[in-house]
């Protein structure tokens, strides 16, 4: 991988760029960051993420870090998580946050949307069973509120419950009294956030220039 830095035109670079859609410059910048995080090793492990100071106060840090090690997000078969990721996986996960290009057909846009949505869904669906259960959803909300400390867990629960009920009503419509809603499937999730314009929100501007020297 050391070759990456020195030779932007290298085959590996081209492959990565094709696979993730990043430009060479962006790959270069991210690679530098990767090296920085991994202390110049070939792979990243969870503890490396935990060393990032800015991440420390992020309430859903654990979930996000987990997402980097989730097989589903790094296009590997099967569920579960891996122990360490290489640069390519790192890049693939990052590419979920790439802003859509200026000119896209509606179909492409829809694809991008679903892809981003899938990432989000996977993040919530921790046991990889295809549904976000109430337990999982509560967990999400609890984490989300965890930084506000004094807030009771009870409240988080209430919010999650209310949200879940909302999902049930939106996705199931009329439910018979003996029916029950076991969790949010991806289709429901899609339906739920259809107004959310995730494709225009789940974006980060990746710089072409190297600014990592400015950070610690």
């Amino acid at each position: 991988m050391g070759a990456l830095q020195s030779a932007p035109g290298h085959q590996e670079y081209i492959d990565l760029a094709e696979k993730t859609g990043f430009s060479f410059e962006q790959i270069g910048v991210l690679h530098k960051r990767f090296k920085q995080l991994s202390h110049n090793q070939e792979t990243l492990r969870r503890e490396h993420f935990n060393e990032i100071p800015d991440l420390a106060c992020n309430p859903i840090r654990a979930q996000i870090v987990e997402a980097f090690f989730d097989r589903r997000n790094i296009r590997q078969n099967g569920g579960g998580t891996v122990e360490e990721i290489g640069f390519e996986e790192f890049l693939v996960v990052m590419s979920h946050f790439r802003p859509p290009s200026l000119h896209m057909t509606n179909e492409q846009r829809e694809n991008v949307r679903r892809e981003k949505l899938r990432f989000l869904f996977n993040m919530h669906d921790t046991d990889n069973d295809g549904t976000i259960t109430l337990e999982e959803y509560r967990h999400v909300v609890e984490e989300l509120l965890s930084r506000s400390g004094t807030l009771e867990k009870e409240t988080a629960k209430s919010i999650a419950d209310a949200a879940m009920l909302e999902v049930a009503s939106i996705s199931m419509g009329h439910m018979e009294p003996d029916e029950f809603y076991e969790g949010i499937t991806f289709e429901h999730f899609d339906k739920l956030l259809i107004e959310f314009e995730i494709e225009s929100k789940m974006n980060i501007r990746f710089l072409n220039m190297d600014t990592t020297t400015l950070c610690k």
Binding site: R33, L37, A162, H174, M175, F180, R205, L207
Partner: protein, 1034 residues
Amino acid sequence: MCVCVCVCVCVRYTGLPPSPCLRVSVCLYIRRQDVLPLSSGDNMLPLGLLLLTVTAIGTGTGTRTGTGTGSPSLRGPVLGFSSPVPASPSTPPLLLLREPGEERGAPGVALARSAAEEPSGPAEEEQEGGEHQHHGGGYRVVQWEWSYVQTPYIIAIWLLVASVAKILFHFSQRFTTVVPESCMLILLGLVLGGVVLVANKKQLYQLEPALFFLFLLPTIVGDAGYFMPARLFFDNLGAILTYAVVGTLWNAFCTGFSLYAAKLLGVIDQRVQADLMDFLLFGALISAVDPVAVLAVFEEVHVNDTLFIIVFGESLVNDAVTVVLYKVYISFVEVGAENVQTADYFKGVASFLIVSIGGTLVGLVFAVILGFITRFTKKVRIIEPLFVFLLVYLAYLTAELFSLSAILSMTFCGIGANKYVEANISQKSRTTVKYTMKTLASIAETIIFIFLGISAVDKSKWAWDTGLVSCTLVFIFVFRAIGVIGQTWVLNRFRLVPLDKIDQVVMSYGGLRGAVAFALVVLLDGQQVKAKDYFVATTIIVVFFTVMFQGLTIKPLVNWLKVPRSTNRKPTINEEIHERAFDHILTAVEDIAGLQGYHHWRDKWEQFDKKYLSKMLLRKSVYRKSELWEAYQKINIRDAISVIDQGGNVLTSARLSLPSMASRASFPEVTNVTNYLRENGSGVCLDLQVIDNVPGAKVEEDMETHHVLAGNLYKPRRRYQSHYSRHFMPLGEKERQDREVFQRNMKSRMETFKSTRHKRHKKERSLKKRRGSDSREDGGSDKPRRNVSWQDKDPVVVPVESEEDKAEHSDPEKEDDVGITFVARKAETPKPRPKSVPAALDGSSSDVPLSPPGGDSHLPWKGGVGSPPPCVSVEATKIIPVDLQQAWNQSISSLESISSPPAPPEPVHPRVSALSRLGGPRPVSYTPPGSAMGSTSSSIGAQVSQGSFCFPEKKKKEEEEEEEEGGGGGGGGLQEMQPLMSSSLRPPPSSLPPPPPPPPGSGRRRNPCVYLRSLVTAPPPGGSEQHSRGPTQL
């Protein structure tokens, strides 16, 4: 009479020829004499009429004297709006620093002065006229004090005219969808102005800059700033700043230079005596997009949020640029272009920085002050809104005082303070602030447009030069388009969500000019700027063209281009959750990627805000709540309101689809989400939307609805009552209102209740658990209950009220804005009680509300009430053994803890015992008894009135009644049931049969019974018990 006055006033102000006025006034005069003797009679009504008449006559007289003396100028000053005086003082805000002392010193004073001066002129005149009339006798019963009320009177009349005009416009729905209101208002202004001109040969009124900048503009900007979607604004801050600064500068310079070129080329007539500096000055004031016009037009177009915020934000922020350019050019014009030194240009740039940043800082300082003050207004809720208005306005005035950008200051004050203020002040105050601001802004906007129209009809302004006008129109449009496209091109390289071509077209076309430009051009000094008249005329044309033509056509254009519209939809809870989650996710990813982007800094700011600002500016009670929680609460409130608005339709439909028994089947299922939630005591007021969306939803949903309804719907009312009843409001009205609402929704709710009844138990249980932790809520519940009892009782038992008062005093600290969820329920319980009394009287309907409270039966006070017959409970037990058992136990324990009512198990006279208790020594602390008393008394009343209420429909009441009845007819039933009940449970109920039965448990059980009964046909009162039993066995 009113009509007469109106006619007269209209005549007066529209400046119709004097003769009709005279006639009107004369006939009014005659009438006055008719009326006079009447007024001497006795009551106030004739007197009021008289006053009105006199006013009208006075107006007539004033007109007569005014026109009669042939000095129209006298009438000019009459209108506060039109006085020529303010012109000079008004300049200060925007004028150069030259004479800071004199002019800038007191803009407010200037207006006051002008107001003071106005009357003086006409006053003298009128006095002559008045004395004519008045010299007849010694003491005059009625005085003509026109000069005294003149200024406010005229202002009020103008406001009235403007408001009425608004009403008229909206009569035709089809018309208003096509023609923007602003267009109509300008047209109306033109007509009014024309009438004045015809009558008077001279225009008396015009939009005075002082009035505009000191009063009209702040109201609009204040509203815009305070309710600015802060997040959206800051998300697009880069684009907004670019368009506002670069775009405005570009427009100003290009327009100025191009006009100068046109002049050199001879396109513009030689009569327009202007050189480069004049044109640059004109370009500066005409180039700025106007917030008032943009708001007026875009509000009706509903383009998507991003587009709107960019155009609107630009119009607000470009104020700094406009002010600076305007001031700089004016100073240049004064010194003469040839004397301008290089240093002056740098001064201009420095001035821009100071004006914009200074203005922003002033705004933020006031925002902090405002947040800090509202932190301590808990005890003076009633003036909370005033602080908001005052400080936001002070931010504006202070910025004007230092000749900084007042609009920026006010905007940032609003944006900055909004979060903290909204969190600090009470719900009512929030509503007050909102509506007052909207009202003021709306009326200010109306006045602005009307006066723009009126101002245009003025011969002195008709310095028409076709070349100048057409060139200006073309240039501002072309340069706006070029500027937008160029900047967008640059911006799109940085924006994550690019602005596409359609957006650019709308932005170019939405560059409306308005009253700010007009006020600025009127402020120009005719001595310095020779071509002022031409500029004024051109500005008017430009404003009219942009507001009317572009305003009229932008809607079709937007439709045609299929610009994405904004949806009025409020975000769902899930979207709120994900909104929050996204912020954190993106921040985290940025951090991981080592980027210090927007999200990174936003997160840093939020942490700072949380650590320091919020701690300082938020009340402690609020500080702990997270934003998500607030959002959640807001949604709950909104849903509750929407349910109320729908008048129970939802419930009705739900009711129809309810399978009476099916719900029971699902009951034990823990897997069901709703059940599950309930089981786990989430105790949430579940989102009503759920229910809304699924009209035929499950029974559980109905329960939730009930919950929410009871909580959200009634709690505020209760609070209202308690809050105001003490200090400000007559209690009677509140009660009546409550009762009304109850009765309206009763039927449907009752039905719902029946169906959901048994489900409730579980919930209630969970609630109970919660209750333990929430002592506060208990207090709340007590309170409502008190109210109830009081309501019903009013005539019957006086002491109840006093008790209520005490209770209120005991929990004065309670915040008005307590969480909806739990408290609400308690509130609910009380309500039903009060209802019950009336319900008993008028039948079953009132009882319905009670049923929800039935869930509250565990409440100690309920027990105090003298929970009804155990037999009912027994039945319930049969049906849902597990539930009932638990509930029963709990209820019993609670009962015992409360106090054991001494009521003997006399079946026939339970009421009596209750009554005796009431009248007797009741411990103040013993709130539950109070409620019980209320209920008992109510029941008593009911019984007294008749024994024939419809039991089936009543729920709680019924319970109570039942107990009593049980006392009467149900005694046997009780005994029968007892064997069924578990031994442990039995003893307490038997011991306290009618009056002090186990409150909570019994209540619940009863409810199911009620439910069952309802299923059966409604039995006559006497037979009700039997019926109930029958269903139970089902």
